[in-house]
Symmetry: C2
Subunit: 200 residues, 2 copies
Amino acid sequence: MAAGTRPRPRLDRRTWAEQALAAISRGGLRAVSVEALAVQLGTTKGSFYHHFTDRQDLLGAALDLWEQTHTGAVHELVAGASEEPAEQLRLLARETVRTAERDPVGLRLLASADDPLVATVLERVTAARLDVLNRLFRRLGHRPADARRRALLAYSAYLGHAQLAHSTPSVLPPPGTAARTVYLDLVLDRLVGPAAPSDG
Amino acid sequence: MAAGTRPRPRLDRRTWAEQALAAISRGGLRAVSVEALAVQLGTTKGSFYHHFTDRQDLLGAALDLWEQTHTGAVHELVAGASEEPAEQLRLLARETVRTAERDPVGLRLLASADDPLVATVLERVTAARLDVLNRLFRRLGHRPADARRRALLAYSAYLGHAQLAHSTPSVLPPPGTAARTVYLDLVLDRLVGPAAPSDG
DNA sequence: ACCTGAACACCGTTCAAGT
DNA sequence: ACCTGAACACCGTTCAAGT
């Protein structure tokens, strides 16, 4: 259980960034403290500034790390799924929501959209995800404009769900229960269902 | 344009809280600095601690202020609307989204859900709003369990929309345009529309 | 009861001096 | 090239002393 104060193996950016990401996961952006991390890594604050220009610089490196592994996982998911778009959407919804409720970093970032650096990362991630959804809805037979609107609604619902999972988990049907499945089915039914008469 | 450094009119909690709320509106929670506010109010940091035990205490007072005026406005809105639940929902959606995109404080709080104090306020607001939606869907003829699910989806979509308005407004149809109306209509259609065959 | 001004603690940042 | 340790800046908090 003791922290690792080893015989100083000459630290690099990567190690600091990993430690910072772990700190974000535990306590959010505010937990990224140069002083605290230096102690954890058995070095000094002064040493830190040889690898990074800034605390912001460190945050940027940590967020890059997260973005890489995170978006990689999403791509694998969609690629490895069935050919059927409806099935892909169902899988995406289930897995993506599960991840959002588990990956503490994602939640922390949503909760710190304040920070300009975080905002930049979230923008990139948002654009990529809307694109995935957009294509799915088009393959489901929706016209371009309608597909965009549905993608937007789907992603809004996803974001809001993540937010609720973060702030008020008690109002959500618990993950892994029948109630959760029923809820997910309703959401998917609402998202992919036929448009109102006026549109057809 | 100069800040008001008047002949010191003996400050009270209210004045500090209002100033703090203004600071949140401008720059988020991090903009609430005891030192900066003291300067703005033409007094000293030491004086601050005669009215508040803490910076947290000040934040709490500011959030209380916001919560009061904010929830008051929502109640007025629903009360003054038509009797027709579908019409009430449409009005609620339009106004509530419009407010979310304008009220900087609401956005800032969403972006600082990190803070335990903010989390508490958001929980209360969430519960109240889910309740309003829940009742609306029941009056629209949905069974209790279905109404709860639809309220949850509606509120998730609302939260996600607010989040996007904050982080990536460019992906949203601009407020006040035809595209926005079309989008809102789609969302409402999806939310209130009949359930899939398996449910009926 | 309310305020001031100086002090302290904490942490990001800088820098001269070491290997 | 990388590290240390001391210094400084900033801001939250405390407190003795004033009115």
